[in-house]
Amino acid sequence: MEQVDQRQQKTCESLRVFLFGAEATLLGTSEIFVPAEEGIRTVRDLRSWLAGRYTELRPLMSQIRVAVNHRFAADDTPLGPNDEIALIGKVSGG
C-alpha cells in the first residue's frame, strides 16, 4: 500500500488508524490520520467520521470492528493520539 492519502495530514495530535484487507485495498492505503480538529473522542466518533469521510467504507462499516491498543474496543472507548487504532474488517486467516 504505497499510495498515500493526500486528504489527511499527519500532526502530533492526529489519530493514526491502521487499515488491512478489503478496507486498505478500497482506500489505497494502510493508514490514515485523523486531524485533532475533527474532535474525535471515542470509537463511536471515529466510526461516524470514517463513514462520512470515506463513502467507500460505508457498505463495510457494519462488519468493521475497531481495535484499540490491540484489543477489540466498544463504541464508548476513549481515543487519544497515543493509542494504536486499527480497523478490523472481515478476516480470512486459517
Binding site: 490491540h70 486467516g93 486459517g94
Partner: protein
C-alpha cells in the same frame, strides 16, 4: 498445560508430532493447505497479512480457552505471514488431551474462532502473476 503460538514467514515447514503429556491419549493435527483455485480462479498462492501483536495475543487467548474450557493439555498454533505457494501449509493447529472427544471439539472451536476474530487476511496471487 502448554499454549505455543508462532507466526512464521512463508510456508510452514513439515513437522513431527510434538511431545505430549504422559496422560494424553489423543492428538489432533490440523493443517490448512493453499488450494489451487480461489473463488474458481487459478492462483499461484496466497499472501497473508498479519496484524501483530494483536493476532498473536488473540491466538494465545484462544489457546488458553481450549485448556480452561475444553480440558485439553497442549495447544500449538502456527500461521504463515507473507507468500505461501499452492500446495504448501499456511496454518497448523495441534491439540492434545486425554480423549478424542475433547480434542476434536476443541480444534473445531478454535478454527471457527480464528476465522471470525483473528486479524489475519489472505490475498490471492493470480497464477500468471505469481512467483511460485
Amino acid at each position: 498445560m502448554t499454549v505455543r503460538v508462532a507466526i512464521c514467514d512463508g510456508p510452514l515447514a513439515e513437522t513431527t508430532r510434538p511431545q505430549t503429556a504422559g496422560d494424553d491419549g489423543a492428538v489432533v493435527v490440523f493443517e490448512g493447505i493453499v488450494r489451487r483455485l480461489e473463488n474458481g480462479r487459478p492462483i499461484s498462492g496466497l499472501t497473508y497479512d498479519v496484524y501483530s501483536p494483536m493476532a498473536e495475543n488473540l491466538l494465545q487467548e484462544l489457546g488458553q480457552s481450549l485448556i480452561h474450557d475444553f480440558g485439553v493439555t497442549t495447544v500449538i498454533v502456527e500461521h504463515s505471514r507473507g507468500f505461501v505457494p499452492v500446495g504448501q501449509c499456511s496454518f497448523r493447529l495441534v491439540v492434545s488431551g486425554c480423549h478424542r472427544q475433547e480434542v476434536f471439539r476443541a480444534a473445531q472451536w478454535f478454527i471457527d474462532r480464528l476465522k471470525e476474530d483473528v486479524p489475519i487476511w489472505k490475498k490471492p496471487v493470480p497464477a500468471q502473476a505469481g512467483t511460485g
